[in-house]
Symmetry: C2
Subunit: 221 residues, 2 copies
Amino acid sequence: MRLLYHFPLSPFARTIRLALAEKRLPFEARIEREWERRPEYLELNPAGTVPTLIEESGLVIPEAAVIREYLEEAYPDTSLLGRGTERVEARRIAAWFDGKFHHEVGRALIGEKYLKRLSGGGQPDAAALRAAYGALKHHLEYIGWLAETRKWLAGANFSLGDLAAAAHLSTLDFTGDIDWSHSAPAREWYARVKSRPSFRGLLADRVAGVLTPAHYADLDF
Amino acid sequence: MRLLYHFPLSPFARTIRLALAEKRLPFEARIEREWERRPEYLELNPAGTVPTLIEESGLVIPEAAVIREYLEEAYPDTSLLGRGTERVEARRIAAWFDGKFHHEVGRALIGEKYLKRLSGGGQPDAAALRAAYGALKHHLEYIGWLAETRKWLAGANFSLGDLAAAAHLSTLDFTGDIDWSHSAPAREWYARVKSRPSFRGLLADRVAGVLTPAHYADLDF
């Protein structure tokens, strides 16, 4: 059986869980706590980050950005990138969330509020949290703008752009950090993504020590 | 003519300059100072980062990770990813430098020491610089280990892994921040990459306010 090392608070692992589910590729999900730096895991992925995918053949594919390109090449039938110039925009949106959004919002909120505590790393930095919540509002507005001008975030077709965006947002929704009243079109787009069968696994996540709001798993939130 | 917006201190832009040169795709290079946040540039790439590539057709491709996948798909003749499982390792090495190396080393050294000053952002943070120089040693050891056990960083063939690694290291070599005596095999590998014709453009870089050491452009450093 295909095996995926992941952690529920990792938006990168969430993107790959969604991508595998969209492509209908069954996998066993195994929790890996990055901060434990297990020697056996570092042999699979020297960077020590989740996710890492292991194919039945034994092929090891670490890092979300590497895995998603691999999945597109190995299993092209359900394409998550589309064709031609659509691929540029789908990758741009995914890079936006993996880079800019994670750097400005996700890393601070998840890192300061939860990973620090789970890994015994001390108190959150209040200034970093304030800056992250401020940036989150701008990102919700940007998503809302994209969702109002296009059917899906990268254009006419559902793509990796939607998956990456939803993965990052779902991590923060899981921890109750998103105020959806800030953007109605962003909320409407997220409700559409959340209703896809590929999302079910994420909605069943629970993490000890993290209080997940009731609306997290509610499709009619 | 194909146009690339770049900045000499951006390792991401350097990766694409190298990739274009390796694929023998001529381009006009235009300097973009990210921190000025020019409205015309933000229309091309809302993230405001370099590089952004504009094809003669007018197609706009922002972000290094997006551009390099685009270039592989649009111009496959000189592949920088190789075949099959080689592609996983080439992308893993590139992701290592774009992610881990940049996060632990490059962002701090270039950001604190140079971009802060160039953009009028204040004094460098001494603790951040110390941590970055410490991490740099570990990365040089990792490169040395890869270079001793393989012909090129990702395996038997020259790849995007070498280009990304060399782009990130060359940015720090340009600012005189690398002590090559730390790893002889890393230095030997870098000398091989630096001797490639694709590197010539980078070796001619100059930035006002940055003192570039004499060995930077010396192939026999």
